[in-house]
Symmetry: D2
Subunit: 358 residues, 4 copies
Amino acid sequence: MSNLIGNRFRVLVFGQSHAPSIGAVIEGLPAGFAPDWDAVSAFMARRAPGGSALSTARREADAPEILSGLNERGETCGAPLAMRIVNGDARSRDYEKLRDVPRPGHADYPAGVKFAGHNDIRGGGQFSGRLTAPLCFAGALAMQLLAREGVRVRAHIAQIENVFDAPMDFAKPNLDAIAAEGLPVVDSAAGARMENAILQAKAEGDSVGGVIECFTAGLPAGLGEPMFDGVENRLARALWGIPAVRGVEFGAGFAAAGMRGSAHNDAYRVEDGRVVTQTNRHGGILGGITTGMPIIVRAAIKPTPSIAKTQESVSLSRNENETLTVDGRHDPCIVPRAVPCVEAVVAMALYDLLLERS
Amino acid sequence: MSNLIGNRFRVLVFGQSHAPSIGAVIEGLPAGFAPDWDAVSAFMARRAPGGSALSTARREADAPEILSGLNERGETCGAPLAMRIVNGDARSRDYEKLRDVPRPGHADYPAGVKFAGHNDIRGGGQFSGRLTAPLCFAGALAMQLLAREGVRVRAHIAQIENVFDAPMDFAKPNLDAIAAEGLPVVDSAAGARMENAILQAKAEGDSVGGVIECFTAGLPAGLGEPMFDGVENRLARALWGIPAVRGVEFGAGFAAAGMRGSAHNDAYRVEDGRVVTQTNRHGGILGGITTGMPIIVRAAIKPTPSIAKTQESVSLSRNENETLTVDGRHDPCIVPRAVPCVEAVVAMALYDLLLERS
Amino acid sequence: MSNLIGNRFRVLVFGQSHAPSIGAVIEGLPAGFAPDWDAVSAFMARRAPGGSALSTARREADAPEILSGLNERGETCGAPLAMRIVNGDARSRDYEKLRDVPRPGHADYPAGVKFAGHNDIRGGGQFSGRLTAPLCFAGALAMQLLAREGVRVRAHIAQIENVFDAPMDFAKPNLDAIAAEGLPVVDSAAGARMENAILQAKAEGDSVGGVIECFTAGLPAGLGEPMFDGVENRLARALWGIPAVRGVEFGAGFAAAGMRGSAHNDAYRVEDGRVVTQTNRHGGILGGITTGMPIIVRAAIKPTPSIAKTQESVSLSRNENETLTVDGRHDPCIVPRAVPCVEAVVAMALYDLLLERS
Amino acid sequence: MSNLIGNRFRVLVFGQSHAPSIGAVIEGLPAGFAPDWDAVSAFMARRAPGGSALSTARREADAPEILSGLNERGETCGAPLAMRIVNGDARSRDYEKLRDVPRPGHADYPAGVKFAGHNDIRGGGQFSGRLTAPLCFAGALAMQLLAREGVRVRAHIAQIENVFDAPMDFAKPNLDAIAAEGLPVVDSAAGARMENAILQAKAEGDSVGGVIECFTAGLPAGLGEPMFDGVENRLARALWGIPAVRGVEFGAGFAAAGMRGSAHNDAYRVEDGRVVTQTNRHGGILGGITTGMPIIVRAAIKPTPSIAKTQESVSLSRNENETLTVDGRHDPCIVPRAVPCVEAVVAMALYDLLLERS
């Protein structure tokens, strides 16, 4: 099922931007779990738009409505937990035009080919970033279940356009150093420059991309299955479920390509009676299996394709060149809102791995 | 099944470096297909070691033996095609030592934790790069089936350590410009510098990493499924089945993070009656679906962790620090041999996508 | 996903009897399909209770509400079709007692063990027959899509307690001979005796079981995959998704065990230029693959476990024997309402097979 | 993968009757398991032909050769366990004739349609009962792993043609009462009559079918997943992987259709401090979940379709009626050899369920 992810903790996402609802169905929650709904709401609020000048003006209550999966005491009961979010505040526009003149950088054209013109073009349909709201719901539950096992997941914005956050210590990252308010960065001055970069792009009718770097803490060694079900395989498959991701790397990542083995290998040592590596260029994963060191994964986020500037496109009906000006409400940069999405899918994948531990 | 990949064209890989055999079982081959076995051998020979000073001295005939799946005329018959490669030329060594003192950068330690010390430590066991031989077998078949549909897959070495091949045109890559002999590069002078970098590292008892960039030609628009089964999700999951991959990116990849939307979006235009993009920073995929432009995917390969230099490790039995000197035959750089592996898994994933087309 | 079935046409069911909603998410519908919603409602009405003295007094509107999956023209758009049915008319009762004293023949006890007492005990929770309503929704869509391919699915009640319907011709079943009104039988006199058997059991505070026999028409030869994905494997897995099924057989079924090969084999012959079998004891399937003859599958339905008579059970809290009298509204026989459920899951499985045809 | 079964204990079967090999690849074995290979051979010998006048004269050594999955100490190492059996003693015959004139009751015709005439017709190809040898290998391993958990699986022949074994006590079956030598029956006199029925059919160039009834002991309550992954769904899917199965039923099975609820429900009681049912018409499963009572499952096996008598068929090339006389070596009754196959797939499915227990 292409909208489904996970082996033991399984999440199916449904919906389109302007359908009556979006939602998720979750299998594999342990029975007897009473979620902290306030924490779920707080987590989802980090993704929700409308909070600042940095994001779209569209306001979504995004209040999840539970359809099934709880018993009369409000605990998970072993049945799938289904939820939906009612889509409101959707503006009707001239969608027929978008069917004819696809937006550069969007799924309009390939989806139109794939679905022979029957795809839901309204607000991006099933390709909308709005579909990450149910992912955040599921991720918020996974985080609570991971917390029971002493596992944390936290991401910061490592880069916006050409502004970089301060580097974090790979071997001993301080997750609490990431700002809980405003942009999630370690270096508040860098955060201020990132905001400026976003506002500058917005002012020019343009958009910017960035990089999100995610860390774990407390994950045991020995998780992950060989070859195609290793930790990287799963995290990568999950991360590419977030629209706009263009690259994924672990530990030293692409920088490893330029290194010597002697500079890249992480030496082992015994520390407080535990086996650790002195450095963490391997990003917590060797052979697809966790080493007990923090997982470090980065995702490159492309600049939002919806920009105010006039762009070159084609008219599919006339099979000739055409220009396009996209109006509507759009984020000049989705990186800040994508941070909880990255945390969510990483948490989902890790909780799934924990459940698979034999 | 963690050693299995594919929805319609399914490949299961088995074996360990020093087990009696390694092999693969393939489901989803069309019945009546008579493979060109010479082409399969030629493709597999590109991955096989022993060919030059650039790779390990271990020699493997790597001759695939068909166990099942063909009818009396040598055509696929609808039953799974099973094959094996008999492991020969395996040297016995002191494996107990490796169980105790794990090699930095290898799966020894996390696999030992995962399998409670029962993992096959000989030659890296199931984590050995040798497991990519059956992948190349399956990929060679996928390539022949793709060729029937007019689809090609070809990769070059984009980088070795700090040497870069000439850039290729993303919108109109010339796959035939990649050298068929020697290192697969576009710029032979760069290739010579790459060889020098490898030999230099080897001379110093060290190793180097690199980047492989893969292109497709002839792939139609409209392939790929939404959210978690998009083209990137699948290619990434497949690519991380190759040991030593540390990053995967599509099109502009991580560079997109530093760009404005207006610079990153690829404008559409009509060319020879067909809708194309003028540039190809999107790497042939939007919303997880092919646009009909060439797919461009890059994989970062870490430097081989097995180096001759003495390294710091630990003794697990004594729970104290220990030094380790790894002998044996090792590649100073696996990037050249990984090129056909990348082509193979990309071909497998794309043929799978073609079969899924509804 | 245990609530999910199908390879290409995939249906996920969620909900509990007294949860806010029950529903389904469907992947694999062809884009551009505009369902006949009246036909869907008519099909679902055949399963709905409240229609006669033969079934429970609980009334359910069972009106499906579409959550996602349609474009602005009401056609399927390639995104998952999600639907829900709001649960109404649920009576609150003393569920704590049922947690303690499990009903014989129900899932109360094993589910309580499995979910450590957190299972939703209200109205049978996720084990309720009510979950077949979304299955009928999905099946109704599958039937419309099968009809496009000239395929029909129709079942009759072959047996209620000790009353048998007239046998149908396996080689050339007349699906139109099955009554569209009242009990779905071929022999109306047998139907009347079945009604009597049900009413007699009801009057005695008891229940009765039966057998449902399902036929296809128009299905081509060559569908089904070898070994574990043959037509029987899939139909059986699907049919056991309907609560109360205790046996499944194809063609001659268990009667084949008492036959000689010469009496059981179906001879081939050419008829109107087509290869057919003269008889159809094989039930349209050989080696897991369709032969082009009608599929014949029978499902045994156990008598409803909820009966008014006092029964022997145990108190789990006191770990001692206890008697139990179940009140509430219950069907004295669920066989008539299970007929569309059997048709639904058979249709779902067959449409899935058609989509898999390479 | 259609030749693959299992969620956590996964078995993939490959091969054709006259291919170089048949075999299996198994994932999910716990690391560090040292199989008792003599017990595996003894179990497989129960399925092997050549032992008596009751079965085919084809002799197969059926010695399994391990290809991978063990470490240097002969223990499972976490990698897939791959094995093969070399096919020997295969007689070449005029297969082209069988491609043209399909055998009644065999997969020849539908497989020919499905694979457009490319199917392996030799010895039944992938549809041969010979493919159950790797299943028995996997089942033998599952049985050893189940034994560690105190779980046993044992089947007897309940019926051959019109001869029935003595009934066993469903609530407290004595598995040791089943004969270990000769036909696996409880009543040796019935066994003698079954042998006569088989020999009588053989003498007449005919064949007979039968019923196999399988019991478990020691299985805990609470195994199985809701709806489509319940114990019946899985056991049924697995059992239909054995060629010639035409029906599957649990507990009272089809007989439940003729019963009242008051006669069918199994009352609970406390016995020796444990909750049990007094009778076991439910066959150890309610709502798809084990109750802790013995599982009782029966499979109907059709009479071998290969009979010496001349039969009516068609010539596909001439599209006209034709007669067919099948020579070769065939079992007059495969039921005795199918008994270990039933035990094997039941053991595989149950061990899988045990591993899934959360």
